[in-house]
Structure formats: structure tokens, C-alpha cells
Symmetry: D2
Subunit: 230 residues, 4 copies
């Protein structure tokens, strides 16, 4: 299995939008060509189609940052999974620490996404909720201690036991789900450590998105990830 | 002043997305050319850029269906006004009956949108809340009794006093704001009545969006609106 | 182990408040004396102390219907667990289908309640979310298909597989948690069936709370529950 | 008209609950007897009945900190106005900065409370939203800049223009509503200034609730309020 780098664009201004949003996608494409690593781009809603256009003819996947737990219909300013499907995205991020969801809604979205052929990447804050989520059979679980998100202090160094406990608890209830970790990941060595601790890769945001040289950072992470998986 | 037809795409599947979403924009363009009426298109987030592309070089405005009351930054799956501005939209719908907002947030968004050069169309459910919203100085207030939304029973017939009371109450506190009405509007004659009762036009959704012939309906509404304004 | 009847008062007017609220507690006391069954009363916030006063010197437990996932402090109109503890309650209902919570908050509340010596009864809508919740180690899990709540069609008859699946899935991840079921439970025979399908008892609301003769109904349920547990 | 001191207990531990909650009510009673000032106590839900018992046979009013915009019925852990009415309270605080509400819900609660004979004290963050709220005809409007709440920096000193602008804007749309102010109020002189700037009194929380000598503080505020109203 190939290691995964999932890039959450968030809503940084101006980085997550327009020109810089496209740059991140173009550099990701270059790095995918150079390394073959699996990359998931998670841009804002309004950029989804543009980013999809840039990465078509590659294996790079594009996910939305959220979906609302609703069927299509008379809803104003909410995003059903069908809107994402129609836009052409491959999957959806669910329950990020900045967008926590109700348990019943997480389950509803995972099931409906599966029927629509959309992948689900579900976040959790601690190993226990990571395992709770894994029972619901998403494609990917990402465990991220919220107190480290955006700090630059990598979970793989500050709380390696969060990663190992997550892997242990999740594996007991779901042997197949892909496991990511995140929070504070900013360098290739953090990615290396995360994979060595038993995950398939990382969920990263500011370190890549707010960088003026995303190529360097993603490339460093990709090379370390490939090395760790050998 | 020209009458206004604001079209809320909502999230109907498949009507609000893809090909049909583009059709509505193209037909709106045609009708704008034929009548000069003011049209506001309010598509889903993922369609904003596509629709903007279709109506560029016209006076048609494109608004988003909602914005979240946040500054740009570490947010996942929320939409700050800056994202909309970056996408090129002209304004934003706020506090639709399907997306009610906190009073303090409505005020925050109106003020921030003004600074960013974005227009605000704020909905209210009854004349009193319409007046409350008008005090906050949005560009447009739309009063829509939620119990009539999507029914096909036009507010202008079922509850004309809602419209006249709204106009009276709103004018007392804000002589300049543009006033729309909506709910159950499905024909040209409903638009005619709404304008004769003192508004500048209507906010419409399903009657146009779910129609297989949006041209006919929008054109009928546009002609009646122009006639009522004479 | 003794069977459990948990009575959710909800917010029926006037049944859940005042005189009728006290009557339910008094009749519960009588039935506890006659049968020794375990009863959990779950009244509205404003009635908690009154109900606690009625059932003191019995083994009847009093739970709150909800707690907000906050530490005590500058909060207005929210209920931290410490408020409940101070009021003298024994536990708290979490994530009822009428008050769904975020996964991270459910976990936070379970852990904090444990530290404060409060019991947790956590609801779930389907067997899978029941298992997800069970991983977080609450004291009690109650699985209730929301579509049957308040219908009078008992889950034990309409969807017995929901109960057996819940028991199976929950037992795999947590062999010790107490398991209840609910939704549509209105007679002793429904309780009998629920226990025979592997649960420890039921979560009931309208059938008891809105009855003018709560004694008869609770007694019928208690006798059937005792018989099923033999 | 008598000046008003409204005391929001919030959810401070242990101050807002149990013994200290009762002490605040008892001292308020003493001060009411000594000065005749109008006092509104706003304790947590679970303390409402106890506090009402303490202040019966006085003119002190007891309000709840919040009500949910729902009719009574199948709701779990939500508080309809009818529950408050049944408990015997006189009114309800709505839209505190720590519990902001949707505009439509504020309006719904004000109207329903009026029908039930409950008073409404509605908060707002700035003069404009204060005026918006005043249009909806609550009994009392309290304008509190959230950035000063809990700071001990009194709005009457730091932002006197917030108070005078509020009074001006509110009076234009509603000549009868009672106007309070709050945020950072901690001494008698702050209350004196607030009244001299055109309000009827103050909404206070931590300065009184977390004090070990609430009598001294409330008395100081009451005397200054009476002096300012002369």
C-alpha cells in the first residue's frame, strides 16, 4: 500500500483560494509524478471544480472539507453529498476538529457516501473516538489531538502514544480501515515517524497551505513517507 | 429603479447542479438581454464560479446562498465572506428560512460584507423581523412567510397584508433598503401583485429551478414585473 | 442483575411538570417497594430537586435529560455536569434522538461524568452507533430506532433484529456495559420481549408519562421485566 | 420608575449553585427590604424553584437564563417556556452573548412569552442589534458589548457611547421598552453612571455572583442606582 498525504486547505486567506490554491494542486501533481505517492487534496467548496480540473489524468484524489447530513432538496446554503458527487469529487472529510459532527450524522454520511461511491475520511480527537468511528466503516480514519493542530509540534513526537493507541484500538474493531494521523505535522521526519508508528500517512494543513514553497514541503514529506513504507 | 427577480437555486437534485444549473443561468442571460430586468442568481457553492463565468458581460448578479460568520483562517468546511469575494460573487443571501442565523451574526456579516464590497440580501419570516433586519442596513430585505415557501400558494394572494405590513414597518426604520418578498411565487401575476403591494420584486426558488422550461417562467415573471413597475 | 425501567419525562405539558411529574415519582416509589425493580427517573431540569426529594430513601435513581459539554463558568442557560452533581442527581442521559450530540462531546461527557461520580446513559439510533458509543465506556447504552419513538409500535416487535444486532455488536466491544432498548414500548409484554432478546430493560417515555394511570403501566412493565429476568 | 439590578447567576462553580445561590437570594431580599430597588435574579434551571421559594412575598423577580424556542412535547433536555411558567418564574433572559439565538427564534419566544404572561429580557451586543431587538417589543432590552463581559472594565466608563447610542437608537423604534446595560459592571459607581447615561439599570454577573460578600456589592449598587434615579 502506498503512503498517503492528505492536504486540508482550510480557509486561510489568501492561501486556500485562487492562485495559491491552484499552485498547491500543481505542485502536488508534479510530486505525484515524481514519487507516485497517494495525495488527497481537500480544498474549499468554491475551488473544488478548479482543483479537480488541474489534477485530472492523475491519481490525485480531491475531497470536500465537509458535507451536511441532508438529502438534496429545499435547503439553502447547505451541501448534500449529491452536490459533491455532481461536482466530481472523490470523497469527503467528515468530523474535522473544526467541524465536529453528531455521531448519528457521521454514521448517516458514511453510509450515504458509500452508496454514492464517495470515499470518507473521518477525523477523531482521541484513540477512543477513533475506534468508535472505525466501527462505522469509513474508508479512512484520521486521529488528531486538537490541542496540537496548527502548533507545529508534531503528534508523532509530542504524543506518539496517541498514534500507537489509536492503531491498536482501531485495529481491534476494524482491521481494514486506512489510518492517518495529524496535528502539528510540518516536516518529512514527522511523516516518517507517523508511518513508523503504524499509520498509512498524515493529514496536514497550515505547514503546506501557508507555505510560499509548497513543493519543497510536500516533496520532503512524500520522500520520507515512501522511505518509511519500504 | 428596475424590478428584481432573485433566483435561489437551493439544493434540488439534479436541478440545482450541473447542466440544469447552467441552463437557468443561460436563460436568465437571454431574458436580461430581452427585458433589462435585474436578475440575481443564487447557486450552490460548487457552482458559483461556473455560473459567474456564464453571466459575465451582463448585469446579472451572482450571490452565494450563505456565508459563515467567521474570519478566514483555520476553519474546515465553513465559508467566510472572503472565499466568496475571491470567487468573484457580488453578494450573499443571509438568514434564509432554511438557514436561520443568530441576530449578532447577521449584523456581523452585513458589516463585514459592506467592507468587502459584497451586497447582502437578508431574509426574514414576518414583518417585525423584516424591520429588525432593516435596521442593520443590508442592501436588500426579503420577507417570506416560511409556511408558504414551496407551496405554490403565493404570499401576494394568501397573505397580502404580510407584504404591506412589511413595507410599512421596514420603511419606518430604513427608507432606502430594497424590499423583496417571496414564498409560493410561481407565476408572473404573483410577481405583478408583489410589486404592486410595494416591493421591488421577488425571491423565487422551486417554481423556476425545478421547471424543465425555466425560460418561460422567468420571462413571464420579468414581463409582469416590468409592467408592474411602469 | 435486576431489570431496569428508565422513564424519560421529556417535556409534555402538563404531564412532565408539577403535580403529574410528582405522581409518576410517587407511583415509581410504590412499585419499587412492591417489586424491587430498578427504576431510573429522568425529569426536566426544573423538577430534578423535587423528584429527588420524593425518591430519597429508595434505590430509585434520578438522571437529567441532558448535560452540556462545558466546564462550569461564564455560561448562561447551559447546564454543566457540576450543576447536576450539585443538585444531587445520580446520572445523565446523553445523546437522546431528540438531542443528538457530537461524538467528541459524548466522549467528553462520559469521561467527566465518571470523574464526578455520575452515571451515563447514552442513546444511539442503530446497532452500529450503539457499538460506537459502547467503546467509550458509558454505564448504560440504549439503542432506539428514532422512527419508532412515540409510535406505540414496539421495537421488540417491529424490529427485533435491531435489538439482537445491538446486543451482538455492543458485546463484542464492551462485555460489561448495561444495554437498554426503547422506542414504541408501551406494555409489559414489550418489556418482556426486549429483555428476552438480550437487553437489561427499557427506556420509556410517552406511554408512562402521558398516562393518567402511570401506576398500572409501570407495574405491568415491572412484573413482566422481573418475569423475563428469572 | 425604580432602577433595576438584574443578577445573572451564570454557571460558576460552586457560586451559582446550592448554598451560595441561596445566599445571593437572601441578601437580595434584605436589600430589597432596605431600599425597595427592583431586583431580578436569574439562577440556573435546577435552582429556580429554590430561589423562587426564598423570594416569595417580595417584589423580587426570578427569570430563567434561557428558554428553547419549542412548544412543549416530545423534547429531551430542552426547556420550553411552559416549563418555566409551571415552575413559577416571572420571566426569561433571551439571547445572552453566551447563548446567542436566531432572530426568528427571539421573535417567537418574545411573542409566546407574552401570551404566557412571562416577561422577556433580551440581550444585544451593539446599539444596532439592541434597536433590532426593541422592534420585537420585549419588556427589557440589555445592551452588553461582549468584549467587556467579565473584565471588570465597566461599559459605562470604557464605552459610554455604546450606552448613549443604544438609548438613542432604541428610543426611536420603541419609546416604552425598559433599557439596561451591562458588561464589566462591578461597583456602585458603574451603576450610577449607567443610569445617568439614560438606562434603567444594569445586568450584572461575576462581580456579585463570585463575591464572598454579595450583600456589600448589591447594596452599594442599589444605593447608587437609587441616587442616580432621583
Amino acid at each position: 500500500m502506498k503512503p498517503i498525504i492528505a492536504i486540508n486547505y482550510k480557509a486561510y486567506y489568501p492561501y486556500s483560494f485562487g492562485e495559491h490554491a491552484r499552485l498547491i494542486a500543481q505542485e502536488s501533481k508534479r510530486i505525484w509524478r515524481e514519487t507516485g505517492i497517494e495525495i488527497i487534496l481537500i480544498p474549499p467548496y468554491t475551488e473544488l471544480k478548479t482543483i479537480l480540473g488541474i489534477v485530472k489524468d492523475t491519481d490525485i484524489k480531491v475531497y470536500a472539507q465537509h458535507a451536511d447530513p441532508i438529502e438534496p432538496g429545499a435547503h439553502t446554503g447547505y451541501v448534500p453529498l449529491e452536490e459533491l458527487k455532481e461536482a466530481g469529487v472523490h470523497g469527503v472529510l467528515i468530523n474535522h476538529s473544526e467541524h465536529r459532527m453528531k455521531l448519528a450524522d457521521i454514521n448517516w454520511l458514511i453510509n450515504r457516501a458509500r452508496k454514492l461511491g464517495l470515499k470518507t475520511l473521518v477525523c477523531a480527537d482521541v484513540p477512543e473516538t477513533g475506534a468508535a468511528v472505525a466501527i462505522l466503516k469509513p474508508d479512512i480514519v484520521a486521529v488528531e489531538p486538537p490541542e496540537l493542530i496548527g502548533t507545529g509540534i508534531p503528534v508523532s513526537k509530542a504524543k506518539p502514544e496517541v498514534i500507537t493507541n489509536s492503531v491498536n484500538l482501531i485495529r481491534k474493531v476494524n482491521p481494514e480501515v486506512t489510518i492517518l494521523t495529524g496535528a502539528g505535522i510540518s516536516k518529512g521526519e514527522d511523516v516518517y515517524a507517523a508511518i513508523k508508528l503504524g499509520t498509512h500517512g498524515v493529514l496536514v494543513a497550515s505547514a503546506i497551505v501557508k507555505s510560499s514553497k509548497p513543493y519543497e514541503i510536500i516533496k520532503d514529506m512524500a520522500l520520507n513517507a515512501m522511505k518509511a513504507m519500504e
